[in-house]
């Protein structure tokens, strides 16, 4: 199951063909359904079905847009014949569209706007973006630790990846026009997710909502449409992957031992499990965006980018409140679970095992290393981020001249 899931995920990230992308996108759903549904917690069936159906709903939108695009564009084969295409690179070029296709920019009565919204909702469910996020806490709470890690660490990124890979290049003119709304939802995600996290009593649900909040940063960064914003968003996708993976592992460690995730039933674990608490502190502060750890760089870039774009400036300023709220719920959790006097019930808990070291140490090293020296990651993505920015700003001129026809 797990391997099948991996195939799906890899497939999605490497596909350059919309059809292939869709196949892998769907392929990944099924194993996830069983992984949650069979090995999950008490309400696993509800969570699994909710996850499956919700994502499938999104898939329908994606499917529709995909078919629409297919019948609106042509590519030239090696032998000179022109056929309909799913190739994303071809779809990026406005010249490849037919004049009558319903999603063709050349067609004055095209439905690109509706298609964009549909596609966006399809991806937004996966991110998950407010108000489509409610499957996430349920899925996380019920899923076993390993699956939560994958779910948060990788699956959520497919939503934002999809937007960057498909929505942005194929619909650059609409992306530009709608960037304020993307930023708005990013901001809502940040603030709303943080506030919802603050109200949680279940450790895992809290982390799940913090995910919602952190994915908001990705959206905010993407909406800025400048180098800093997009680089920040991509980096944040990666960093969120590592940091949230750590957070879920941390919850898993404690759940394995105590068989409860009720935040209020703990206290003082810092004394009982000092090494574990050390890792917890690093992960929590990384999530808060403490400089020196990877989360800071991406958040700072997102804010700098968002502020640099006049359209998203005000929303970015409001979003900075997120760093305060984030610190508030994280530190509060740290205090409730790890500080204070030890609850007698837990005095038999043992510190980390070797297996757990193997999971946490590499992640910790990545988090610290990228916090101090983000260049290796940034150098990899700079070319694409700059190309994306240039493509979208160039496209404005081209598409507005098309509409003048």
């Amino acid at each position: 199951m797990f391997l099948l899931l991996n195939t799906g995920m890899m497939g999605v990230f490497v596909a350059l063909d919309f059809f292939l992308f869709y196949i892998f996108w769907e392929l990944m759903l099924l194993p996830m359904y069983f992984l949650i549904g069979i090995w999950g917690g008490p309400r696993r069936e509800y969570a699994a079905i909710k996850f499956f159906l919700y994502t499938l709903l999104g898939s329908i939108f994606i499917l529709l847009v995909m078919i629409g695009l297919y019948f609106s564009s042509m590519e030239t084969l090696a032998d000179g014949t022109r056929v309909f295409t799913f190739n994303l690179l071809e779809l990026m070029n406005h010249a490849n569209y037919t004049e009558t296709g319903i999603l063709s920019p050349l067609n004055p009565n095209n439905l690109r706007f509706i298609a964009y919204i549909g596609l966006f909702i399809g991806f937004a469910i996966k991110i998950p973006m407010f108000p489509f996020h409610t499957w996430l806490p349920d899925a996380h709470v019920e899923a076993p630790t390993a699956i939560s890690v994958i779910l948060a660490g990788v699956l959520l990124k497919m939503g934002t990846y999809g937007i960057l890979r498909i929505s942005y290049p194929v619909f650059p003119e609409l992306t530009y026009q709608l960037s304020w709304y993307i930023a708005l939802f990013g901001m809502i995600n940040i603030i709303y997710g943080a506030l919802a996290a603050m109200a949680q009593k279940d450790f895992k649900k809290l982390i799940a909502y913090s995910s919602v909040s952190h994915m908001g940063f990705v959206m905010l960064g993407m909406s800025a449409l400048n180098t800093m914003g997009i680089s920040g968003a991509i980096l944040q996708m990666f960093n969120h992957g590592t940091i949230t993976a750590m957070l879920f592992l941390i919850v898993g460690v404690i759940y394995d031992r105590a068989h409860t995730r009720d935040l209020d039933s703990f206290g003082g674990l810092g004394k009982q499990m000092p090494i574990y608490t050390g890792f917890v502190t690093i992960a929590f502060f990384a999530a808060i965006g403490l400089p020196g750890l990877s989360g800071f760089i991406s958040e700072a870039l997102v804010f700098l980018g968002g502020f640099g774009n006049g359209t998203t400036r005000i929303l970015t300023v409001i979003s900075t409140l997120g760093i305060l709220l984030g610190a508030a719920y994280m530190l509060w959790t740290l205090q409730r679970v790890y500080l204070g006097s030890l609850n007698e019930k837990w005095k038999d808990l043992t510190d980390l095992t070797t297996r757990e070291y193997f999971m946490l140490v590499p992640l910790t090293i990545i988090v610290i290393y990228l916090g101090v020296n983000p260049s290796p990651m940034l150098n990899l993505m700079n070319a694409s981020a700059n190309a994306m920015v240039k493509f979208i700003s160039d496209a404005q001129g081209i598409y507005s001249s098309l509409n003048a026809f």
Partner: protein, 695 residues
């Protein structure tokens, strides 16, 4: 010594404590005495900082040494850099940090003895020193923000060092969160700066401002930027209205209070304001002055009635920081930094002295249980007394010089602008300071012991604790700063060591007295002047300062003596019944005792509001948003149920009906097909007859 070696020494000063942190933390469990490694490293840092300061002040006294390196790049035009900026203020500040940090390390060896997380404590001190040095050394605002947050982290870790105590864990959290509020403002300021100037470097920004490039092309936004950046200082330096975290931070070990919450970290806010002084406009400075004034006044009134020895000192710290901030607001740049340095020494001495008392009294902090300790702790008493004289502003001490300078500046500011309020409050606070400090001394050290049991067991601290006290008390004497005990104006500290501030904000937006005379003649000269950022205080200001000097000196001396005298009347000679007096002004007394009810106010409004909001949001999430999802699932199921019924009864019913009808017809006609020949013949004949009749 070359510039390169100066940079290398600074690198060592910055990174050695980090090394100490890593080694001490990782090996702390295995090697019991690993803390000595950290202590050793900090001693090297101290020596290095002395060497650095000596060289800088002897050979490069007028130079600004800058060194930058690339951190990461996003495109060829977007390169983020890190860098050092070494001017005289930097090296002096480094020396202050390194010295106090080293002394606190020594002091802690005895003070923390026997703690179960002994090594970890030293590791935390290491990361604090690293982050603080980072703030001091940086040449750009982003790097300052980075270390700013790291300092916040180390403060969090050290305040909550005894995290088993709920109050300590709470205090750490509160400190971090309150600081973050200020940091958001600071970060917004950074965003504006980067948007406008595409760089984080102070120098580049200042130069750009000098050429007339302003955020959003307006003076107003320049003021706003200055105020936003200053918000960081409000948080870190515990200025009103974010001062509430500092008194709670006293939950940390006392040497930590001395290092972080008295001498260095809380001064970082003042240091930040000094760094951005060049871009402050008159409006921004007015804002800063008012904040500083309130922060000097309110905590001073609170300190009058507190009974916890550390709380008194904490409020006094906020109050003194308020002085520095106010000084910056009224343009007394040099005196602000001067007071920062002198305050760092005498306040660290006071805190370590209180640590010595607490240590001797077996962790008793309530001064009402002390008394008569003079005999038991002679050295602690002597150093505490010298520092108290310094903070009260008695001649021959460093505090007199710096505080007098600030008061004179507020005086001059009043005569130049007509805002006398700063001077009035300044002297009032000086009066209160002298009073509460000597109230503290008299109750703690004089008179008869109140708790005899603890008194009998009290003992003078060991050498490692006494030595830092002696060093710091010595540094509270005037001779280190100026040869003249009554005025620092001609001393080397103010004339040679500290350069005049560089002003870059457009001439018209500055206070009158900070615009240079030449500037008004031609715009050209104004541009020229602000690019080079030389001294731009006017003649008028120098005159005003000069004429303010003597009145301010005598007045400040008078209020200091008056404050001390009153304290003696009240507590030593007991000429006035203090309890009776407190009772007669009960509401005021309680107001001060309860710290103006700030904590309660914030708790009821912000904290409760936020938690309430989060509950509402979660309810909304679980009920409405998720309700819609589950609702739509429910609706789909209902529709499915209905469709199912329709399918079963209508669609399938129709099919079945057809079958039924067919069957029914068959049932009728089946009767015809009897298989009997007779019946068929009858039917044939019958049919034939009908046919015949018809045709």
């Amino acid at each position: 010594m070359t510039e390169n070696s100066i940079i290398n020494i600074s690198l060592a000063i910055l990174f050695l404590p980090l090394l100490g942190f890593a080694v001490t933390l990782l090996l702390g469990k295995k090697i019991k005495s690993i803390y000595l490694f950290e202590v050793f490293l900090i001693s090297i840092v101290l020596i290095a900082s002395i060497v650095l300061a000596f060289n800088k002040l002897s050979y490069f006294i007028d130079d600004k040494i800058v060194s930058e390196l690339e951190w990461f790049r996003l495109s060829d035009s977007l390169v983020i850099k890190l860098g050092f900026l070494l001017d005289n203020i930097t090296v002096l500040m480094l020396f202050v940090v390194a010295l106090i940090s080293a002394l606190v390390h020594y002091f802690s060896i005895a003070y923390m003895k026997g703690d179960e997380r002994y090594n970890r404590y030293f590791a935390y001190l290491g990361i604090f020193t690293f982050s603080m040095n980072g703030i001091v050394l940086t040449n750009n605002i982003l790097m300052m923000y980075i270390f700013w947050e790291l300092v916040g982290l180390s403060s969090y870790l050290l305040i909550g060092f005894w995290f088993e105590k709920k109050s300590a864990a709470d205090a750490g959290k509160k400190a971090f969160l309150v600081n973050r509020i200020g940091d958001i403002g600071m970060f917004a300021g950074i965003l504006i700066l980067f948007l406008t100037y595409n760089t984080f470097s102070f120098d580049t920004i200042f130069q750009a401002i000098g050429t007339g490039k302003l955020p959003f092309n307006s003076d107003f936004w320049l003021s706003v930027t200055g105020i936003l950046l200053f918000m960081g200082a409000i948080g870190k330096s515990a200025q009103f209205p974010l001062h509430v975290w500092l008194p709670d931070a006293m939950e940390g070990p006392t040497p930590v209070s001395a290092l972080i919450h008295a001498a260095t970290m809380v001064a970082a806010g003042v240091y930040l304001t000094i760094r951005i002084f060049g871009l402050l406009t008159a409006d921004a400075m007015m804002f800063i002055a008012v904040i500083g004034m309130l922060s000097a006044f309110i905590p001073a009134t609170i300190a009058l009635t507190q009974n916890d020895i550390k709380k008194v000192l904490a409020y006094s710290t906020v109050s003194q920081l308020g002085y520095m901030v106010m000084a910056l607001g009224v343009g007394a740049y040099k005196f602000a930094f001067f007071h920062l340095v002198t305050h760092a020494f005498f306040k660290a001495c006071l805190f370590l002295g209180s640590g010595s008392v607490i240590h001797a009294m077996h962790h008793e902090q309530d001064i009402r249980n002390m008394g008569g300790l003079k005999k038991k702790l002679p050295l602690t008493y002597a150093t505490f007394l010298i520092s108290s004289l310094a903070i009260s502003g008695i001649p021959l001490t460093s505090g007199f010089l710096s505080k007098d300078g600030i008061l004179a500046s507020t005086f001059a500011f009043g005569s130049l602008t007509g805002y006398w309020i700063f001077a009035v409050v300044g002297f009032l606070v000086a009066l209160m300071t002298a009073f509460y400090m000597f109230r503290l001394i008299i109750i703690t050290f004089h008179g008869e012991p109140r708790d005899h049991h603890k008194f009998e067991h009290a003992h003078e601290s060991p050498f490692v604790m006494a030595m830092p006290l002696a060093v710091l008390a010595t540094l509270s004497i005037f001779i280190f700063y100026t040869p003249n005990p009554f005025s620092a104006d001609q001393g080397w500290f103010l004339t040679k060591w500290i350069n005049a501030p560089e002003l870059h904000a457009p001439n018209a937006t500055r206070f009158d007295f900070m615009q240079s005379e030449v500037d008004k003649e031609t715009e050209q000269v104004a541009e020229h002047n602000s690019i080079h950022g030389e001294i731009t205080y006017s003649e008028k200001y120098t005159e005003a300062m000069h004429s303010a000097h003597y009145p301010a000196m005598f007045l400040s001396l008078f209020v200091a003596v008056l404050g001390i005298f009153t304290a003696f009347v009240f507590y030593q000679w007991k000429k006035v019944d203090v309890d009776k007096l407190a009772n007669s002004i009960k509401p005021l007394y309680n107001f001060s005792l309860n710290k103006w009810y700030f904590d309660e106010l914030y708790h009821k409004t912000f904290v409760a509001g936020l938690l309430g909001l989060s509950k509402i949001i979660y309810w909304f999430d679980a009920t409405i948003v998720d309700g819609i999802v589950n609702g739509s699932a429910e609706v789909t199921r209902r529709i499915a149920f209905f469709t199912g019924g329709f399918d079963k009864y209508v669609v399938d019913g129709l099919v079945n009906l057809m079958a039924y009808i067919t069957g029914f017809i068959g049932l009728i006609f089946r009767r015809v097909q009897t298989g009997k020949v007779q019946t068929y013949i009858v039917l044939v004949i019958f049919s034939l007859i009908i046919l015949l009749f018809l045709f």
